[in-house]
Symmetry: C2
Subunit: 157 residues, 2 copies
Amino acid sequence: MHNISKNFMLRAIELSMISLKEDGGPFGCVIVKNNEIISEGFNEVTNKNDPTAHAEIVSIRNACNKLNTFNLKGTQMFTSCEPCPMCLSAIYWSHIDKIYYGNNRKDAAKIGFDDSYIYDELSLDPNKRKILLEQINEKEAIKAFEEWEVKTDKTVY
Amino acid sequence: MHNISKNFMLRAIELSMISLKEDGGPFGCVIVKNNEIISEGFNEVTNKNDPTAHAEIVSIRNACNKLNTFNLKGTQMFTSCEPCPMCLSAIYWSHIDKIYYGNNRKDAAKIGFDDSYIYDELSLDPNKRKILLEQINEKEAIKAFEEWEVKTDKTVY
């Protein structure tokens, strides 16, 4: 398995270099199922004006589109950098089995990316965070949840 | 400001009800700039086979597309439920000023959504998480970061 993993990671790294050359952030990613690459992605935040278009999110969307599912159980992700909390959470939502990564969040911080800062913010009590959260209209908001709870034909994810 | 906020939130809640009726998760969101709604979104995970298509992410993408930017400084988000860590991180990446929310993560957990579980997982030491992370090929991966660091014409975000 180790040599195979290495090859998949080398492709993710290659994609990070391609992204760099196309003026995107230096991040690349592939998703693998049954020892084959089923999707690839690189950072398109600035090129597509989409702050959510990290390499991992792009790869997840591509994989789901290809397999026609919102559940990626049975797949592995190879990403050139440790996923930021947005991407790590997306990995949880999509049920990917395992993550292999190259650079880590400290390496990302050193070249000016906020991954480490956002990890720190998320672990803070909400009222101590830089971006304020305020709860309003909870009595009106809960109704959709109550209807969801009793809905019999819902698609759970 | 408070009455205005209430109206924006009521629209987000209305979107959560629309989503429910269209067999999506019961979540809606709007983004506001200068006291006007500039984008809307609701949960499209199951309908679009995209585990990243939460109401907040959809709204962020729509707002960025409309304003032709990857930076939403000067905007506020009104979301029918406290953002999950994926969405909260996306809010940090997009530099939204403030978040108003209706239901909270515990309400979401009660009706079967993993928001609270993922917050708990993210705060754990990586080797204690349910989804394993393994660092490989760090020597090869760092090259793209080194090139980024010395690149003079890069677009920073």
